[in-house]
Amino acid sequence: MIAELGLAALWLAAALAGLQLIAGVQSVRQPDGPLASLARPAAVIQGVLAAFAFLMLLWLFAQTDLSVKLVAANSHSAKPMIFKLSGAWGNHEGSMLLWVTVMALAGGLIGYLERRLPEVTMQATLATQAFVGLGFYAFLLLSSNPFERLATPVAEGMGLNPLLQDIGLAFHPPTLYFGYVGLSVAFSFALGALLTRQVTPNFARAMRPWVLGAWIFLTLGITAGSYWAYYELGWGGWWFWDPVENASLMPWLAATALLHSVSVLAARDALRAWTIMLGVVAFSMSMMGTFLVRSGVLTSVHAFAVDPERGTFILVLLGIYIGGALTIFALRAGTVQEGERFTATSREGALVFNNVMLSAILAVVLVGTLYPLLTEAFGIRVSVGPPYFNPVAAIFTLPMLAVMAVGPLLRWRRDGAKRISKPAVFLTICVLLVAVLVTYLSNASLLAILGLAFAAALAVGSLLPLRGRNLLRTPLATWGMVTAHFGIAVALFGMASESAFSIEKLVAARPGDMTEVGPWKITLDGIEPVAGPNWTALQADLRASYKGGSAITLQPQSRTFWSPERETAESALAARWNGQLYAVMGSGIEDGRRQLRLWWKPFVPMIWFGGILVALGGFLSLIGRLTADLKRHYVRRRSAERREDAQV
């Protein structure tokens, strides 16, 4: 019954998306036509219905209803409740339902809330949102029905991939999806504004909270995903340039560029066509990410099902939406009037430079990600990894970081290079000093040295906009910018430090053996069996002491899950303020020794603290913008009321 309710709600939601599309298109052509008032309510009800369908799926997973195919294939009655629930989106069908739900909810929210734009632009926006939504409803209902029943219920479910049974990972996909799909709103706004010739600062102000919100979620999702890969995979790395990771990085790069250009449009009425273009590109990258992950062209822990039919379906959707949007852009971009002008040395100039650099990095990542797929079509198998991505991306990242450190000091419209010459010289000295120091004191690679030097300069540079200001009166949005830029510096510091100073040791140890890893002395006390709710494990007791200090215990495990049956290595971490000790247990050897892999990674947590700071900066900015909007709204209403009073 529950499954049928969910399916019915989903079909109804799809029908409402159709109605929303027709009503939207109709009222763009004929603003007082019979359907004009229907698009907004249709969007709201569609959002509610999709959310209802998703709740029904959650319910099925909570109950472990084994007559539903998806539950039987991905759940198990012995799983802890939180993983039963997260199992709902830890598979192809469920995650596509989540995608559609978030998209419908976002459409419902703009339908309900957004009143600043001309109504015709809103109708076009809602129509676009519905048009994109329809494609994904079709995909879900025709080829990936999450509510499909089994002819005969099974006795027990198959379980969830143990790698995915992790609290961090339970919340990683929804976070990322909020980001991916939040960008669909930017896409719809961009096309709506382009089609109705309303590319104005007001449009930018309406779009900005959505871009910011999506970008915050993407930032958090990528940060969480990176940390998950770091401790769960047990390889000691935090970023592998895996196609699936790149699939989340590419929308982030585009959204970061969009975020900055939308600010220019809102504040200065410049970069109109460019902002529209980025709005299209950002969501296109989200859809491309979905295609890469969901189509089965890649094999990884993320690619749940390999089904060529689904891949083709998503590819066709991708072609229609991206191709269509770019065609509309090509046809209509000429009608967008040129915005306000600015000189090269101005805030806008710096932001344009960084936008171009971000686009170049995006191009580099895109080419590297798609290249193996292209060559495979010609029968050549290649893999592209860090030796390509790191140096090539760095060529565009370093100039961007340099401009990022001084750009916020420039004034809008036109400014002289003279005004920032003092901080620029100071920051250059900063870079050189750190670079020379690190080169002398360690044998770090060139990229790591540059990373540390630029991180130091950016950390100082990002705080300079606060200099000479009354901190209490500084707008929240400025605090947001400063926090986010500082967060980038912190993350960069962590990355460069991990690369420059990590110490790795691989040993085979008997209980009682002691080994040294950098400043740590680590003793293997013993190995004992332990058991969890759906696994058993061997657990090593490691006693570690930092520079002879008091000992702490690390307990890496080698776990055996029994449904589905497989083994995983659970790493153990010990964090200090200046880094992390990382231990993984390997297999046993016949003579009774056990393999241990140990790392001392100075300042590695800064990578994720930096990511959180960046997201926090976005959050401060969002709050600042929203309260400013509310205030403006309130003032306008008050003055309108006063005018009415005066007339009376």
Binding site: S359, V364, V367, L506, V507, G586, R597
Partner: protein, 152 residues
């Protein structure tokens, strides 16, 4: 710049963006030619050995009875075969969870001068749903021989 007419400013911006993107594309293409690591099966690796500096991937079946642990306890050696040729592999590190003799593996690393493949990383079949992509075709093509060999 301030003297530029509106039309010109837009043109300048477009040109700057296009130049940067082309530069990115060319740089990417150049780097890909040098940095992409190619996939070999043992027959190819014996016939046309890659340069010792070139990072490549070697895929095949771990031959039964060849897995050995060195006295240091952390270095292992084994032989990877595709039914025709065989390449010895050495790897220092923790073996992937489902790494067993007779199953497929993809080794990332470089071919040493002595003909031994030095692996930095091993990708093994994790479970039924995760097979390194390179192995899918190979196992299909050579499933008979592989079965024969592992049964022996």
């Amino acid at each position: 710049m301030s003297a530029l007419k509106p039309k010109h400013q837009r043109l300048v911006l477009v040109i700057v963006a296009v130049i940067a993107l082309i530069a990115a594309g060319l740089l990417a293409a150049y780097a890909l030619r040098n940095q992409a690591s190619y996939f070999y099966v043992p027959t190819q690796m014996i016939a046309e050995p890659p340069a010792p500096t070139q990072a490549v991937r070697l895929g095949g079946m771990v031959q039964a009875g060849t897995l050995e642990t060195m006295p240091d306890g952390v270095t292992v050696s084994f032989v990877v075969g595709d039914g025709e040729e065989q390449v010895p592999v050495r790897f220092a590190g923790i073996l992937p969870d489902l790494f067993v003799e007779g199953s497929g593996v993809v080794a990332e690393g470089k071919l040493g001068a002595d003909g031994t493949f030095i692996a930095d990383n091993l990708l093994a079949k994790h479970d039924e749903n995760y097979i390194p992509r390179e192995l899918e075709d190979m196992t299909a093509a050579q499933v008979e021989q592989t079965v024969l060999e592992t049964a022996r």
